[in-house]
């Protein structure tokens, strides 16, 4: 049995009245690629943010193997959020160096690690360029280099291939597998089942804030008695998906009233459409 690196016990996360995650129990073991699979609004990003210590759980704990909370051990983590979070007026290397310095890593060490992975991602010549003109793929690769530069034990990737072309997506997936082969642990959020099947050793299906299944792709097929992951996913998530309520901004009574005052009523009939013109 591999060593447990990250332990999520009885975690619930609420945003006002909305339950984003409910009673999540999950152990992350070393040397695995764990795929978090779910539709938009399922709770993948919320779970990743809890693992990264950005959110605090409403109930339960998110601890590393030594019992420490992730918020105090963030240098163990490398995070690539979906938006990549690169500063456009800095070069790729400056972006990487900034994060490494925040991790307390000397520039020489982070440069050596960056050079090694940049070679693999075909990014070496782009490290001195400002990220403003970067394509989505280059941004994603830079964010990946940034997350790796300080030598984290666990890599959290939020939809790392979203919006990438086929070649870039293949390169990213290949790097992820290489990291796993070198003993690294990767948590890989995606809503593409084919990708999860291709990359992940273990798949956690999240739906409406709950874990519906957790196991290797073959185990999921076995448990659900289906022949494809798509069918397995459909059988596990038959109830209607909710919207991303946690992203809805809270609005004061006055703001709501004011907004409604200047929002014309949506017409419901052809006659009303014609009258509104």
């Amino acid at each position: 049995m591999p060593k447990s690196l990250l332990s999520i016990q009885g975690v619930t996360k609420n945003f006002a009245e909305v339950k984003a995650l409910h009673e999540i129990n999950l152990e992350i073991y070393s040397g695995q690629i764990v795929g978090l699979v779910g539709s938009n609004g399922a709770g993948k990003t919320t779970l990743l943010r809890l693992m990264a210590g950005v959110y605090k759980p409403s109930n339960g704990t998110v601890n590393l193997s030594n019992g420490e909370s992730v918020t105090t051990m963030r240098h163990e983590l490398g995070v690539v959020p979906e938006s990549t979070g690169l500063y456009s007026r800095l070069t790729a290397w400056e972006n990487i160096r900034y994060h490494s310095r925040m991790h307390g890593i000397p520039d020489s060490i982070s440069w050596a690690r960056t050079e090694k992975f940049a070679e693999h991602l075909d990014m070496k010549d782009s490290l001195s360029r400002h990220t403003k003109g970067f394509s989505r793929g280059m941004k994603q690769k830079t964010a990946l280099l940034r997350a790796l530069a300080h030598g984290p034990n666990i890599l959290l990737l939020d939809e790392p291939t979203a919006g990438l072309d086929i070649t870039s997506a293949r390169t990213v997936r290949a790097l992820v597998r290489q990291l796993r082969d070198e003993g690294g642990t990767v948590i890989y959020s995606t809503h593409q089942l084919a990708e999860a099947q291709q990359v992940c050793d273990r798949i956690v299906i999240i739906h409406n804030g709950e874990i519906r299944a957790d196991g290797s792709p073959s185990k999921l097929l076995e448990d659900t008695g289906t022949v494809s992951l798509e069918e397995a996913y459909v059988s596990l998530t038959q109830d209607q998906a909710r919207t991303r309520e946690e992203d809805n901004d809270k609005e004061s009574a006055f703001s709501g009233w004011w907004r409604r005052l200047f929002t014309p009523r949506t017409p419901k009939t052809t006659r009303e459409v014609m009258e509104s013109e």
């Binding site: 950005v54 007026r89 901004d249």
Partner: protein
């Protein structure tokens, strides 16, 4: 603060300043405009005024003089003022100031002004009809008044001489003996401090606030909108370190802007306007130290307040629409403070937010260190700065600041 914490705060501040100054618009906003604003104003404005005045001086004006007999020397003087005139008889009016039928020709500019001049035994009566919204007409009135005043002066002197009196002793029986400026016992340094105290606090307050708006928004709501904040919050730095780093960066940018503006202002006033107009204020080391302290406390409060408001906002647009009108919170107290009399001022004024620091600066620039006032403004400012910092830290600790573009 541990060494690691210090290094992280420094790294955040350094990155923010580097990133911010890589935008050429920022360089214009924080360096070029503050540095050149006042010198340009002080150079261009007088040049413009001089050119306008020269243009007016060169104008040949035409007026109508309605009179029952104009003294010859007065008519001559009017001609010498580049005024062409035609003489008409005085109309029948209840008073010379009544426009009567002449209103139309002054309003439609067929004449620049009408001078009515009437003899009444030893006294002359006059009135000038003019159109105050016309520069030609206003200039005609000004030249006529100058000419009439000179003529009146010579008439007075003539009459005094005719009465057998000495003109000088009759007109000027009370005289200042010696140099008027020698009677002011304030030193030139104190006088300079007094003049500076009238505008330095105002400029400082307004510019500190306004120049902190853009970086505050960029480093908070801007980060949030661009999706860079989430990656930052995953790093091993506390939210307080994040706030301190960003505060340091905004304070540095704002400080540079304010210093450059004050430098430009002093250069413009002291060098371009008149080198004797203002000098170096005479300040003790205590005053200088307290000035620095007051500015620091003010900057802590203002920048923390702006960072907090910007962090509360969901977008750059929203932050801008909150921070820009909030300038009124600084502007009104700043203007109000300028008219408060400092002699015998009550202590409570030094406890009012914003007003306290501006009054403190006014006093200190005049080298007045009044212990009671210093204690009140220092204590109240520490309280306000702490409250602003606490409010900012609360905003930075909110979970919903992590709304990414996803």
């Amino acid at each position: 603060m541990s060494e690691g914490s210090f290094l992280r705060v420094r790294a955040i501040a350094k990155k923010e300043v580097v990133e911010f100054t890589r935008d050429w618009r920022t360089i214009i906003a924080i360096i070029v405009i503050p540095l050149l604003m006042f010198p340009l104003l002080f150079i261009l404005f007088p040049v413009l005024l001089q050119s306008e005045a020269a243009e007016l001086d060169a104008l040949e004006l035409s007026i109508v003089i309605q009179t029952d007999g104009l003294p010859e020397n007065l008519a001559e003087n009017i001609s010498l003022s580049s005024i062409n005139y035609t003489i008409e008889l005085l109309p029948n009016l209840t008073s010379l100031s009544e426009p009567g039928k002449d209103i139309e020709r002054v309003r439609n500019s067929s004449t620049d002004a009408v001078l009515r001049f009437e003899s009444n035994d030893d006294v002359w009566g006059y009135a000038i009809l003019h159109l105050s919204t016309s520069e030609r007409s206003t200039e005609a009135r000004y030249r006529l008044l100058t000419t009439l005043s000179e003529w009146e002066d010579s008439e007075v002197r003539e009459r005094i001489e005719l009465g057998g009196l000495d003109v000088n002793t009759t007109l000027d029986p009370l005289r200042w003996d010696g140099e008027i400026s020698a009677g002011d016992v304030a030193t030139s340094g104190e006088q300079s401090g007094m003049i500076l105290s009238l505008f330095i606090p105002l400029v400082l307050a307004i510019w500190t606030y306004s120049s902190a708006i853009q970086p505050s928004i960029d480093m908070t709501a801007g980060e949030r909108e661009r999706g860079t904040l989430e990656a930052l919050l995953c790093l091993p730095c506390t939210r307080m370190e994040l706030l301190m780093g960003k505060w340091l960066a905004v304070a540095t940018i704002t400080g540079v802007g304010v210093l450059l503006q004050i430098f430009g202002l002093l250069f413009a006033i002291g060098y371009l306007a008149s080198s004797s107009f203002i000098g170096v204020p005479q300040l003790s080391m205590v005053s200088i130290g307290l000035i620095v302290l007051s500015i620091m406390l003010f900057a802590i409060m203002v920048v923390a307040f702006e960072l907090a408001l910007a962090m509360r906002s969901h977008s750059v647009k929203e932050a801008g629409s909150i921070l820009a009108p909030a300038l009124m919170l600084i502007l009104f107290p700043a203007l109000f403070t300028q008219v408060i009399n400092l002699d015998g001022i009550e202590g409570f004024w030094f406890a009012i937010p914003v007003v306290n620091i501006l009054l403190a600066l006014r006093e200190l620039l005049m080298n007045r260190v009044i212990t009671e006032h210093v204690l009140i403004w220092a204590f109240s400012s520490v309280v306000y700065a702490s409250l602003a910092a606490y409010y900012a830290s609360r905003q930075f600790n909110r979970e919903d600041i992590v709304t990414s573009l996803s």
